[in-house]
């Protein structure tokens, strides 16, 4: 009797032991850190490697980009360029010049009609820089628009000049994406390599698995509610979203969002959100960030040809929710809807 039962008991104990072992010792727990900068939330979730140190370092890198590009912080290169508007040229760092060049190149894709870093006097006119919101008159808008285009910007090597004394540049439309570029450069060099890092910088994402081809599931935020309207699957990528649902004000039942359409001087109204997925290549974080505004301010009729222009330059796919709530995708991505339109 005893002999017959002993092996069974041993087997059960072994089984229970193994189950316990795997339950308690799965992959390392992710370390999540949340910081606040660039007027938004910055969250890093790192699994494996020296996670806490990685998170701290990523935050330091984002702070550096903020100090370099900020529209508000004294001593930033943007503030120096703006302070010299109409007076003379300013010498900037090679990194800053490269970022400006990238932003101007994205502007050129749609001839400055849908994205312009020199639109910031209009943002100020609408009160988005001071949060003292107001609806300007049509005359104020057309007057301001006259000097709020990048044709006022002269960029030669690392020398920058704004011709009109009233012109201003603001790199808020590329700074978060550019931060993700800088972070990705650093993550590649980290030893030991983390298994996964998810950086969420105000909704702009860096999905990093160190080339392990992780199959990421990226939720697309419902622009008129909490939660998601669906998701897309992606390899490691930068994911940038421009939307009208976080920074906006309402007057007389009308919504005015913070993204100013450079062709009109009014807040963009054609779409609710545009999400751009770009592959992991230098500057593709910044490019994706800027393209978010391009597609956000584009009418449906021109989105397809715009996409064909940028597809060869690292853009994997685009998800757009238009002003009526209709969703469309561009590129070889599959959008899986989790809610009805």
């Amino acid at each position: 009797m005893r002999k017959a039962i002993a092996p069974i008991v041993a087997l059960i104990i072994a089984g229970a032991g193994l189950t316990t072992f795997f339950a308690l010792r799965t992959s390392p727990e992710p370390v999540t850190s949340t910081y606040f900068l660039m007027d938004t939330v910055f969250t890093v979730k790192t699994t494996g490697g020296d996670a806490a140190t990685i998170n701290e370092h990523l935050h330091a890198l984002a702070s550096d980009v903020d100090s370099m590009t900020s529209y508000y912080k004294a001593e930033s290169q943007t503030v120096r360029v703006n302070a010299a508007a109409g007076k003379g040229s300013v010498s900037v760092s090679p990194e800053y010049a490269a970022l400006l060049k990238t932003a101007v190149a994205v502007e050129a894709i749609d001839h400055g009609r849908t994205f312009d870093i020199a639109i910031s006097p209009l943002s100020s006119l609408w009160g988005f820089t001071t949060k003292d919101f107001r609806v300007p008159s049509a005359k104020e808008i057309s007057d301001t628009l006259a000097y709020s285009h990048s044709d006022q910007l002269v960029l030669s090597g690392t020398t920058v000049q704004l011709r009109d004394s009233r012109s201003r540049i603001d790199l808020g439309g590329v700074a978060k994406g550019y931060s993700l570029d800088v972070m990705e450069e650093y993550l590649k060099t980290v030893k030991p390599q983390p298994q996964q890092v998810i950086v969420d910088f105000g909704g702009n994402l860096l999905l990093y698995s160190g080339g392990k081809k992780h199959d990421w599931k990226v939720g697309i935020r419902d622009p008129r509610g909490q939660g998601i309207i669906g998701y897309v699957r992606s390899d490691d990528a930068f994911v940038a979203t421009s939307g009208d649902y976080e920074r906006y004000f309402e007057r007389d039942g009308k919504r005015y969002c913070h993204i100013i359409d450079p062709s009109t001087g009014y807040p963009g109204t054609l779409n609710r959100s545009a999400t751009i997925i770009t592959d992991i290549q230098p500057m593709h974080g910044a490019i994706g960030d800027a393209l978010g505004k391009v597609f956000f301010c584009s009418p449906a009729g021109s989105q397809r040809s715009l996409f064909q222009t940028v597809q060869g330059q690292g853009v994997v796919g685009v998800v757009i929710v238009d002003a009526a709530g209709t969703r469309s995708t561009l590129g070889p991505i599959t959008f899986v809807s989790t809610t009805a339109q």
């Binding site: 308690l24 990226v218 939720g219």
Partner: protein
């Protein structure tokens, strides 16, 4: 019953209990719980399954915030000392992954709980 049989019985029982405990550890699920953080430190936790409405008074970086759980599964910021009032206008959070954020106050409400199945949210 022999003494050895009893030992075998106890051993089987322990093994069974170990298996059950492991199973629970592996598959534990939390009900929807809202966690309120200021500067990444937890300042309050609210059970959203509770039917009792609840009002929280917390202090953010800029000043006081009033957070209301309505007793029907939603949580929102009712009042805040911040210039833009984005948090107050944010749609209440109720499902895992939902957030209400007040950037000037460094305050984040996150609904935690099992599985949205999503790695990250593009927004």
């Amino acid at each position: 019953m022999k003494r050895s049989d009893r030992i075998v019985g106890v051993v089987i029982l322990i093994a069974l209990m170990l298996t059950i405990v492991s199973w629970i550890v592996m598959h534990r699920t939390r009900g929807a719980v809202a966690v309120v953080r200021v500067n990444d430190k937890v300042v309050a936790t609210v059970d959203l399954t509770s039917l009792e409405p609840q009002t929280l008074h917390i202090t953010g970086v800029l000043g006081p915030l009033v957070i209301v759980a309505d007793g029907k599964g939603s949580i929102r910021v009712a009042e805040a000392t911040c210039p833009d009032q984005i948090c107050v206008h944010t749609i209440p959070a109720r499902s895992p992954g939902d957030q209400v954020i007040c950037v000037p106050n460094h305050m984040v409400i996150t609904v935690e709980g099992k599985g949205t199945g999503i790695d990250a949210l593009a927004q």
